[in-house]
């Protein structure tokens, strides 16, 4: 049906396609898989972090309300009265307590969140057969990357699913 030359052409085309496929497969397998994750976005979007902040804000709200009450009392007494001076002292103590509470809760939240995220990231990397995950924190660790290596949204979805279902 086909002439000898046509058959030759068809066979050589098929062999070329097959060889291309084999070479692509080998190269793809050997290629080091790298991912870039926006660490700041990951941290902010992690559901546990949002819930911990909500819990911590309840305690901070107490100090803020106390300080608002002191401000109102100060305004009523007048700036030059003796009582006003003691109110100022109490206000400053409460401000210091609020700052300490804020720093302490931030630090605790950071520690707890990364304690949970780090093993999840490792798990994610293994499941996706990645060799390296780079965390871009906006401080120069990653100067530029296009969407090809960016797996931020996938990682956020992964860690939040694990968190809600138990991990």
């Amino acid at each position: 049906m086909f002439s000898k030359n046509s058959r030759l052409l068809i066979y050589s085309t098929l062999i070329a396609i097959l060889l291309n496929g084999i070479v692509y497969f080998i190269l793809h397998k050997e290629q080091k898989k790298i991912a870039v994750v926006d660490a700041v976005k990951l941290f902010s979007e992690y559901n546990m972090k949002k819930e911990l902040e909500k819990q911590a804000s309840a305690g901070l709200l107490y100090y803020e309300r106390q300080m608002d009450s002191l401000k109102r009392e100060f305004q009523m007494k007048g700036a030059n009265s003796e009582e006003a001076k003691s109110i100022v002292a109490v206000y400053q103590t409460m401000q210091a307590n609020l700052d300490n509470e804020y720093k302490g809760s931030n630090q605790a939240i950071n520690e707890q969140v990364w304690k949970r995220l780090n093993p999840l990231l490792e798990q994610f990397g293994k499941e996706q057969n990645l060799h390296l995950i780079i965390g871009a924190n906006g401080m120069g660790s990653v100067l530029y990357n296009d969407d090809y290596f960016d797996l931020t949204n996938e990682v956020i979805h992964y860690v939040n699913t694990k968190y809600e279902n138990g991990n």
Partner: protein
């Protein structure tokens, strides 16, 4: 025509039989509830610690409490538990022989602080998301092992808003303030709750 009727009768009877809940002996029932595959026990590993949350159906609780009890005792106890959901939350360090209360503890004061937290304050850090509601414990007990076992157990019960037994998606939430592991969540699907077999006595 007769063949068609017989055929459909067989199909209907087979469906009816397959839809009936499985019935197990007490020992097999306990094993069913405690097996990971059946979705009634969940494990969360964080660092060196393992949190295990066991949902306890009412028949499971009865199987442990009433050994050889009569029907009236069973019914009475079942009525007491109606409208509640119970969990055991255990904290352990796999492979280690000491209580997790001693994990990384630096002083007796710290140990006592942890112990007192679990005795009295931990109930405030437990909640159950059930259906669309968030429920808080109606009963809490810390089952101390007096350092004789490498696990510590919290037993917690919640009152269900409308159901006599748990039958909707639920999520147990525990904010671990002692070991600073954040919020631990474990989910139990309505399918696994509705598939719990019945127990033969």
């Amino acid at each position: 025509m007769k063949t068609a009727i017989k055929f459909w009768c067989i199909i209907i009877v087979s469906l009816a039989v397959s839809c009936k809940k499985q019935t197990l002996s007490e020992r097999d029932y306990i094993r069913y509830v405690e097996e990971n595959e059946n979705g009634l026990v969940k494990t969360v590993d964080i660092g060196d610690l393992r949190y295990k949350v066991q949902y306890k159906p009412h028949d499971y609780i009865l199987a442990h409490e009433l050994k050889g009890g009569n029907d009236s005792e069973r019914l009475s106890r079942l009525n007491q538990m109606k409208g509640t959901a119970w969990f055991n939350i255990t904290i352990a360090r796999p492979g280690k022989g000491e209580s997790p209360l001693r994990y990384n503890v630096s002083s007796l004061e710290e140990y006592n602080h942890r112990y007192n937290y679990f005795l009295t304050a931990a109930a405030r850090d437990l909640a159950l998301a059930y259906g669309g509601d968030t429920l808080f414990p109606i009963s809490y007990h810390f089952e101390t092992s007096y350092n004789l076992a490498p696990v510590e157990t919290m037993i917690v019960g919640f009152g269900l808003p409308a159901d006599s037994v748990a039958g909707q998606n639920m999520q147990l939430i525990f904010y671990d303030r002692v070991f600073n592991n954040g919020i631990i969540k474990t989910s139990f699907t309505k399918e696994s709750l509705q598939s719990i077999p019945q127990v033969t006595l």
